[in-house]
Symmetry: C2
């Protein structure tokens, strides 16, 4: 592992073996279900990662910002779904992307957004590809299946300036679950609601070729998806401690970690001070309300093997405080974790931790390191 010692700490590491296993696992599952997989690249914001997802069989990508759409389009990705409702102020930027040849699909869940999109389309002799967001679990955005607003939006879109491509939903409340039964039930609810919305549109005479669902927990828990055409999922590519607590991976599947250096101790308290604070880990405390609370991350040795019981119990901007959760006095921490030694920290939430970094260091099976750029911003 001598190459790791040459890295500036903190650094975001990707374990390539784990990542490729995660990609294959999701792709195999989607293949078995007969689903097209459209990964959400907001997790990595990294062209090299997304290329590997497509290389294993994914088709198209999902993005969370127009900046992502522009960056991935510039890198040769063409089939892009922008999965946040587009406000009027962003329609011109979407139009510019489409005119440059990007097969960009946008989404709406309101009359106002549908109207601004259709009007801009008509004014520019253009037809946007649009999906309507459906609310399948009450956690955020979307129109409820059965609401006549769905028909009103479809009518607005199909009056010119837009093609109605279908419906999509995201059962984000899956992050709050932790049993396979409840996950399977939510996956079925997600499917049932979106299919009901699609049928409502078709019964009213509107086209609805695409029916898109997805979240990593429901994607990995669905047993059968009749009526669905595509699944979106993001965090599976790295996984994280929140997903481990949800029950869809183990900590040994987590492909993203932060390399850190021990910079001090408070031995009588059993504290190890490291240079990975919240700036490196993010402020995400997603495991705080779950069965196992990992603080700001779970502690591994430099090879990525968990050191049982240790977590980053507290974090300041550039300081993490590692301690043993068991309440043992642990006064030998200075000997066990000498100053200058390297550790890896597994993240609560891979999307949030990745976002704190401008690049990833990919560690391959031989311990060789490559640098992969990621981007942020809007």
């Amino acid at each position: 592992m001598s190459t790791l010692a040459s890295l500036v700490t903190p650094s975001a590491l990707i374990d390539e073996t784990r990542m490729m296993r995660n990609i294959s696992r999701m792709q195999d599952r989607m293949n078995a279900l007969g689903m097209r997989l459209r990964p959400h690249v907001k997790t990595s914001k990294c062209v090299e990662v997304a290329r590997r997802q497509l290389g294993q069989g994914a088709r198209g990508i999902t993005v969370s910002t127009l900046k992502e759409a522009e960056c991935f389009f510039a890198a040769g990705f063409n089939d892009i779904l922008y999965a946040a409702c587009i406000p009027p102020s962003k329609v011109d930027r979407a139009l510019a992307l489409r005119r440059r040849g990007c097969d960009l699909t946008v989404i709406v869940d309101s009359m106002e957004a549908a109207r601004s999109l259709a009007e801009t389309g008509r004014a520019n002799a253009h037809a946007f590809d649009v999906m309507i967001e459906i609310d399948s679990d009450g956690h955020r955005s979307g129109v409820r299946a059965g609401d006549r607003l769905l028909i009103d939006i479809a009518r607005e879109l199909t009056a010119g300036g837009a093609n109605l491509k279908g419906v999509l939903t995201h059962a984000g409340s899956s992050y709050d679950l932790n049993t396979s039964d409840s996950l399977e039930q939510l996956a079925e609810q997600e499917r049932r609601e979106i299919v009901a919305a699609a049928e409502q549109l078709r019964a009213a005479g509107f086209p609805c070729p695409e029916v898109s669902v997805g979240s990593t927990p429901t994607a990995l828990s669905a047993t059968n998806l009749p009526g669905v055409t595509e699944v979106r999922a993001g965090v599976y590519v790295f996984f994280d401690l929140v997903m481990s607590n949800v029950g869809v991976c183990t900590p040994q599947d987590i492909a993203l970690s932060v390399l850190t250096t021990v910079i001090g101790h408070q031995a009588e308290k059993g504290w190890v001070i490291v240079d990975a604070g919240w700036m490196a880990m993010s402020r995400d405390r997603g495991t705080a309300k779950q069965a196992l609370d990992y603080g700001y991350g779970a502690v591994c040795d430099v090879h990525g093997d968990m050191i049982s019981g240790y977590s980053v119990a507290a974090a300041n901007q550039e300081h993490g405080i590692i301690s043993h959760g068991g309440g043992s006095s642990d006064r030998d921490v200075a000997e066990r974790f000498p100053i200058g030694s390297l550790l890896r920290i597994l993240p609560n939430h891979a999307c949030a931790t990745g976002a704190q970094h401008g690049e990833y260091c990919l560690v391959d099976g031989q311990g060789q390191i490559s640098r992969w750029t990621r981007f942020n911003g809007w």
Copy 2:
């Protein structure tokens, strides 16, 4: 405010009038106390912001990473204190900066770090400028005043390869307080502990010219600082909702906000969906355990005036959910906050929210906008 409407949302805004008032307030206080002010630039990581702090009388800067030291040195800043204990692996980088002419001071709180620094200094016929970190409140790093480790470290440093410049401390536990009495007491404790450490060193025959304290709450609460030579503080330049709850500013002092666009509603729940999620605000929930919990931020109109009772109650990566904390049904949100309208969100923690952005949009007193780069990374 027509220029704000041209910005991509979310964007990080700095209200120049408020920022300059915050800078003057701290500088005036330090002048009255006879203290040198060395602002911590980790809050802004922005050369233009730090220039204004020095322009009002600050002398030197404090940084949290060597990347900051390198970037600020490249921009013409010379007197730089790197205020996180330096591990052996970072000593060469500090040496390179010093050899290029940077007046960089580093800190240690262990024999191991002191030894590696001194040995590198001797091996390179160089003498590092070093301060010893003192633990004045038990919240993180540092040697306790009275501990003979302090003398051992001083002896190691002064055996060649380093100049012992003094001692520094940071009473970070001030963030947990919320009364002027308790803050004043902690400021005095911070002063008392660091002065005791300085006297311990001097009594043992070591030099200790610099005695540096600081946190924004204690800096604004200290009434008298005999024995102290310098104060460090960071977040005061912007302030934030955590500081408002601590009681050292009001929400009307907060100079940093995030401009956001309304992208949807769930009217029956009283929800307004905006495009500022945790990617724009950070995951910081610092107000969660304080008297007033602002969720992921307090909601203001586009001019920056608070809309009482509304906060970003929940956040996903690119979605914020605004609701009224009072439990009112509030079903007219779609009319009050139409799709496409702009709002500003005040942050819980300015350091964390700033870190989510690659640039600031400075809004001057006439509403004109300038773009200021900030940097992240290590």
